[in-house]
Symmetry: C2
Subunit: 193 residues, 2 copies
DNA sequence: GAATAAATTTGACCTATATCAAATAATTTA
DNA sequence: TAAATTATTTGATATAGGTCAAATTTATTC
């Protein structure tokens, strides 16, 4: 798959929510650039402001934060998803989140300034942002429900459903911290059946 | 406080995110209407599509869903906040959420069709929606963190911080289901100290 | 303002999951 | 590919918070 085809993925993603004019496509193409990360590489350090948003083409990025010196996984992002540190990116100030690459990852990125330019000049981009945030919203609400009521096993089942395409590629310890259970408990859940 | 002053609250809320032209103010005023709910009254039945978004002026609305026949509180909304059933309102289909009034409540509402008209004709409304959703997003992320790692007591402390102005007006059972702990445990937490 | 209903508290007991510790297994690096 | 590091599993024990039941307090209704 070459670079031109990859850009098509992003356009397809936009077109789930809005129509893309040729003019907007051209402006997007000029501002969206490819980038690669090696397995284990840090994509965002929480000590810096997040100025880029990444659209994943291949691989998995993980967002996490530190609690008592330990890495707590916040979410995982696979193909055809945008990743950034939301509050940091939008408010242009530091937040608690780090981002790293669980696997070697190919992505595209756009700078926050370029995005702002697009928001200012293409009202449909505002609409895209509103609508695409809405769908992420739904996932968050579902997750809040799943975190509250389920046993550790039910939480794990929900995780596998949510991340059905990539769950098996995420190390056990990261899954455990994502679910808010211990590694030992998760290991035992996996063992039975 | 009369109706005109109340509308000012909504305008102030918008103006945290965007500038309101006189034209837009006038269009908003024509579409935003007052409504009242008695204590205990059902605002939205999950068997219907949510076609209105409510901006609270006084009182508290609660969003909840049913699990095994029991009401599970999802969130509480106080003064100067919008309330609706997000997925139902945006996607125009049924969702699991009910909304009721914990206290006698004064609110304003706008119909989804009117909102769509505003989105179509005032790009700054799209921006308002994007930016205001962003701040709700932050709260969700914080809540997901708080639900995962804290003891029941820490969860309750976080709840009191999040709802510092209204937490004492919400019945214990509703708080417990919001936090995903039992009433008994919450009662014991409240008792000590 | 009794009577009734609903919400909250208190008690006794039990279970899922945490914690601590050590053994394997898998992955990385020299 | 052997050594070293890191991840996962397994075992023994402790405990926070769940469950069930009943008492008490508070709110609602006639």
């Amino acid at each position: 798959m070459n670079i031109i085809e990859k850009t098509e993925n992003i356009f397809e993603h936009f077109e789930k929510f809005i129509e893309l004019s040729e003019k907007l496509k051209s402006e997007l193409s000029q501002r969206i650039k490819p980038i690669e990360f090696k397995k284990g590489e840090l994509v965002l350090d929480a000590n810096h402001i997040c100025t880029k948003s990444y659209f994943i083409n291949k691989g998995i990025l993980r967002t996490y934060f530190l609690k008592d010196g330990k890495e707590i996984s916040e979410y995982f992002s696979g193909i055809n998803e945008w990743v950034n540190s939301p509050k940091s990116f939008i408010l242009r100030k530091k937040d608690i989140y780090y981002i790293d690459a669980i696997e070697s990852t190919q992505a595209y990125f756009i700078n926050v300034n370029d995005l702002v330019y697009l928001f200012d000049n293409f009202p449909e981009m505002e609409r895209y942002a509103r609508l695409s945030m809405g769908s992420v919203f739904g996932h968050f609400m579902e997750r809040i429900i799943s975190m509250r009521f389920t046993t550790a096993k039910e939480k794990y089942d929900h995780f596998r459903k949510t991340y059905s395409d990539i769950y098996h590629r995420i190390p056990l310890g990261m899954v455990a911290s994502y679910l808010g259970i211990t590694q030992e408990t998760l290991s035992r859940i996996r063992a039975e059946k």
